[in-house]
Assembly symmetry: C2
Homo-oligomer: 261 residues x 2
DNA sequence: CAACGAATTTCGTTAAGCGAAACACCGTTG
DNA sequence: CAACGGTGTTTCGCTTAACGAAATTCGTTG
């Protein structure tokens, strides 16, 4: 339990985290003096940390009883993390199998701020020249990942993604709202998304959504390969991706990001 | 989102919590520069916070990829909080009903560090002179709460509670290991615990355990009243407490504190 | 191999975190 | 009713240690 030390540790932060850990692990809401006695820190210091953490929303300060407990913001963060953690850890095995099976690049992504964010990537092939990286973002309209998720969003949510003029990534990129809506609609009926050189010249992608317990698309998996190689395996790929997505859905915790908050 | 401000806020802590919130809400593990760009803080500062939070175990630092993500310690705290939060919020209504029904003091407690810790208390009657307070602790051996939980613990765990000589709280308090084991055994057979003036002169308590999904006693509820008044209602009280405990158990999340870690 | 981007390390400045102590505010007690 | 003990809040100087610019290392890329 090195409280200080680690060369670059910021002491106020480290100590505040001790307070945090203490409060979070108590079954009851705590008082200032209780924390002081438990951790042996000066009263003023603990007071300030409790105030700071409350102001940040991680704690809730019950003014009436003068007690501090874990706050909603913390629970919200924990909920989101639990979902994403579960997503990544159970997706891991599925991604591996897909790579083994198809020897092509496999992507896992979520939707954030109207963009596709890559969460995990398995590269089977050599030239990783133009591959995305974890954390990188691509547009919704030019990726199979984006279209797969959009297709299973409620209509209002889809409309919030629509732009009068989408960014043109390649000469094949769809750029108008009308075409985007049509692609989304086709994807919904088909059950998986196809994107052919719309995001990157010469690269075709098949994407399927990963739905949470409530049927909301929380993420998507895709297989991407050069057009030439993809043509033969597109159908089988779609099936394999859908199977993987279903299995991932099955192990997700029963919480939804869309309903909460 | 008052980042600073609140009179007593400690800036390093407040800013570190921004970093914390950002990292926790991303679906992927993040890099230093990603956080820097997202939050607009100086590189050095963010670096130090990431180091500090990693040292505290709240983050996990993937050295290979140089990425930071939520750590196990955070998840552990979140798990504990979720359980206790659920316990308290669903117990609330039950406690109210018990107080309404019996017009006597009702207690909710957990076991921590070999002691009974009061988590919630409803006082029906006037003289709150000697009532416990939230966060206060009482011995296991002298309370119905403690005996109720001990009775449903595995034997090794019970033995860890045994002392050669227990504290004598009243002239009726059991003080030897032998008697304690006998009480625990009787409580297990009976299904609820009785304590008559062993913790406090003239006060009788009936306690029942609240079991988690795995059958471990995570908490206990008790009804306490003057000996005289309790005699008549003891049987009915035990039944009502057991019903309440069962209902609380049913709504608890499917996590156990005893298996994890 | 040069050049870039990203993470670490150094270092001097100065702001601000710190904690003792004083203060205010109960609820309690004799 | 007044004194008390225990809590939370506020003040106030001291000095520490947080800060961030810049330099450095490291790895990657063209």
């Amino acid at each position: 339990m090195g409280k200080a030390g680690d060369q670059y540790s910021v002491l106020p932060v480290a100590k505040a985290m001790q307070v945090f850990a203490y409060v979070a692990s108590q079954a009851h809401d705590v008082t200032l003096t209780e924390v002081v006695q438990a951790l042996g820190m000066p009263k003023t210091t603990v007071f300030r940390y409790l105030q700071t953490l409350s102001a940040a929303g991680l704690f809730a300060h019950d003014i009436v009883q003068d007690r501090y407990g874990v706050g909603n913001r913390f629970r919200e963060l924990a909920r989101v993390d639990a979902l994403y953690h579960s997503l990544r850890s159970t997706a891991e095995g599925e991604l591996d199998e897909l790579v083994d099976d198809f020897r092509e690049t496999v992507n896992l992504a979520v939707l954030a701020d109207h963009e596709v964010v890559y969460v995990d990537i398995r590269e089977a092939t050599r030239s990783q020249r133009f591959q995305a990286r974890i954390g990188h973002r691509h547009p919704v309209h030019s990726t199979s990942l984006g279209k797969a998720m959009a297709a299973f969003l409620p209509l209002e949510a889809v409309e919030r993604l629509v732009r009068p003029q989408f960014e043109q990534r390649t000469y094949r990129t769809l750029t108008d709202a009308r075409t985007f809506r049509r692609h989304v609609e086709e994807t919904r009926k088909r059950g998986f998304a196809i994107e052919t050189g719309e995001n990157e010249d010469g690269v075709t992608c098949i994407g399927v959504p990963i739905l949470d317990g409530k049927g909301y698309p929380i993420a998507a998996v895709s297989l991407s390969a050069p057009d030439t190689r993809m043509r033969a395996t597109a159908e089988r790929a779609a099936g394999a991706l859908q199977d993987a997505a279903r299995r991932i859905t099955a192990t997700l915790p029963p919480i939804s990001l869309h309903t909460s908050v």
